[in-house]
């Protein structure tokens, strides 16, 4: 009986063994044609020649990647120097995403820990409260954030009203505003995996540490944190990855000086720059970085599973 319940019909159930090809066909077709196919197409486009009003000429070229990494002067005849413009934009994206991840971790870890130590029946309510905002339109959330943080916005009004400050703090159009926006966009992704890890944590270990005269903070640092590390790593990746390629937070909260990869890519297709192969190349570079991070995390996870099992 126990074995039957544990299997839950998952591992051994094979009622539809002979039909699985047909059952999987629609998802394979839709995702293959409209997601995987387009990504391959994008890879090809990144090696084509640009047409000036958007689009491509079907002529193989490395110009897009060359433009990304090298500066060959105005007429393209000077010896190549390293081009810093785009590398700087990528670096800023990584930095901003990293800062947002750190902010999410500092707020998200205590939150997740607190929720996981509530009585079992109220935990889902807390989790629900944390996740609701995630399901609200990201655009609306970002606009709301901007509304709140404006120089004449409610936050500054409140701070001036209470006499804490004399003149409004400029938050919008700074790096910090973007970090705040990213933090706000993806915080639940940090809280949920850490929550799941802390919930599985065996608190007898903390008690044992306390019996051996460890202080509470030592216990947190030396016992709890290592035990829930896979959850923390997962949370950091889930915040970092979408932050790096985000468009709305830097566009609405950051202004022109705080350009990130998302805006650079968008500009190639929607804006006046209109260099499709370059946009495709920048997207490929972003995608490669993301895939490397995901592979690294999958390996870490596998290692943790092995150690745990």
């Amino acid at each position: 009986m126990a074995a039957g319940a544990a299997s839950g019909g998952s591992a051994r159930a094979d009622t539809y063994k002979d039909a699985r090809g047909w059952l999987l066909l629609p998802s394979w077709a839709v995702l293959g044609i409209f997601v995987l196919g387009p990504v391959c197409m994008m890879l090809i486009y990144s090696f084509l020649t640009k047409e000036f009003r958007g689009g491509v000429i079907w002529e193989p070229s490395l110009a897009a990647y060359d433009q990304f990494f090298f500066d060959r002067g105005l007429f393209g005849d000077e010896p190549p120097k390293l081009e810093w413009t785009y590398i700087t934009i990528f670096w800023r994206s990584i930095w901003q995403a990293g800062a947002a991840t750190l902010l999410s971790l500092l707020i998200g870890f205590p939150t997740a820990y607190f929720i996981a130590t509530r009585p079992e029946n109220v935990r889902p309510v807390w989790v629900f409260l944390i996740t609701i905002p995630y399901w609200v339109n990201l655009l609306i959330r970002t606009v709301s954030m901007k509304f709140l943080l404006r120089d004449q916005g409610p936050l500054n009004d409140f701070l001036i009203g209470t006499g804490l400050i004399d003149s409004p703090i400029h938050i919008v159009n700074t790096n910090f505003a973007v970090q705040l926006g990213l933090f706000y966009s993806y915080l639940p992704f940090m809280v949920l995996p850490i929550y799941a890890a802390v919930e599985r944590y065996n608190f007898s270990l903390s008690e044992a540490a306390a019996d051996l005269y460890a202080s509470k903070w030592t216990t947190l640092r030396r016992i709890v944190l290592p035990a829930v590390k896979p959850g923390v790593v997962a949370g950091c990746i889930l915040v970092f990855v979408p932050s790096m390629g985000s468009f709305l937070a830097p566009d609405l909260l950051g202004g022109a000086k705080n350009f990130m990869i998302g805006s650079l890519i968008e500009e190639q297709f929607k804006g006046n720059a209109g260099n499709w192969p370059f946009g495709a190349a920048a997207s490929m570079i972003l995608l490669t970085m993301v895939l490397i991070i995901l592979m690294f995390s999958a390996r870490q996870q596998a290692k943790a599973d092995k150690a745990g099992g």
């Binding site: 039957g4 019909g9 009622t15 509304f147 706000y184």
Partner: protein
């Protein structure tokens, strides 16, 4: 498990941080909701309670734009959620009830692809794809793109639910001479209902909320609510945008709440 002293588990300050976290998450939404009822023309000064900006959304100078955007948004969300839920249900049946097979990991990777690829990359790729095959961008391209990226959101709750249902129910039915089709429609589907409903609702919200991919694959003149709102916000936040945002966020919150209670009902089986 042995009872652990609460004092050892809890940390001072963690409760305060959690409450701060909730304040940060909800404050912007609450503030915008409040200001959407502001009578003033300006978004800065409060001049009393009024529904004028809600009236403006429906009858004001921009009402035609909002109406067609709302029509596009909701019809696309309903169709995309329906299609992706059906596709995800079939896929989940194969993945959870199809035994072990080689392509299982690959299939799972393909299904979760839209979650792994950054949204802006999917958007660029889809735009390039439609351009390459010479497909005119418009309503249909938005719909197709939405069906694709909604599949994982529908799939996750559906497959989670199916994993929780023992296949002995279907086996028993088939031992009693039910055909597999009957076992599927009469036994598995009713048990699956909560998973399918929450999968549908999540796909619906994700479609309704999408901005980035829609912005790339929509044709000129075709707008959904998020792209229409983005277009307006570029010229500054106006009170009617706050009213329309409040309505849209209410729809999302109601949907998520329904989804929560539906999936909660199944844990009490």
């Amino acid at each position: 498990m042995a009872h652990v002293n609460e004092n050892i588990k809890t940390y001072k300050g963690f409760r305060a941080i959690t409450l701060l976290c909730l304040v940060v998450l909800y404050a912007p939404l609450v503030i915008v909701t409040i200001y959407s009822f502001n009578a003033s023309q300006s978004i800065t000064n409060w001049e009393g309670l009024s529904f004028r900006w809600y009236a403006d959304v429906f009858t004001g100078p921009e009402s035609a734009k909002f109406k067609s955007a709302a029509f596009n948004s909701f019809t696309i969300a309903i169709m995309a959620a329906t299609a992706s839920t059906m596709i995800a249900t079939l896929a989940a049946t194969a993945m959870v009830r199809g035994g072990q097979f080689k392509m299982r990991t690959v299939s799972f990777g393909l299904i979760s692809l839209p979650l792994m690829v950054p949204e802006i990359v999917t958007a660029v790729a889809t735009l390039i794809f439609f351009n390459a095959i010479g497909f005119t961008r418009g309503y249909l391209t938005i719909l197709v793109a939405h069906v694709a990226f909604c599949i994982p959101f529908a799939y996750l709750p559906i497959s989670a639910r199916m994993q929780g249902i023992e296949d002995s129910f279907e086996q028993a039915a088939m031992d009693l001479y039910a055909t597999r089709r009957q076992a599927f429609t009469k036994i598995l589907m009713p048990l699956m209902a909560p998973g399918i409903i929450s999968g549908f609702l999540l796909a619906f919200i994700v479609s309704l909320d999408d901005f980035i991919i829609t912005n790339f694959v929509k044709g000129a003149g075709v707008e959904t609510l998020p792209t229409a709102i983005f277009g307006s916000v570029k010229q500054g936040i106006k009170p009617n945008i706050m009213a329309i945002s409040t309505m849209l966020l209410s729809v999302s919150i109601v949907m998520v709440t329904i989804s929560y209670f539906v999936s909660k009902s199944d844990s009490t089986k």
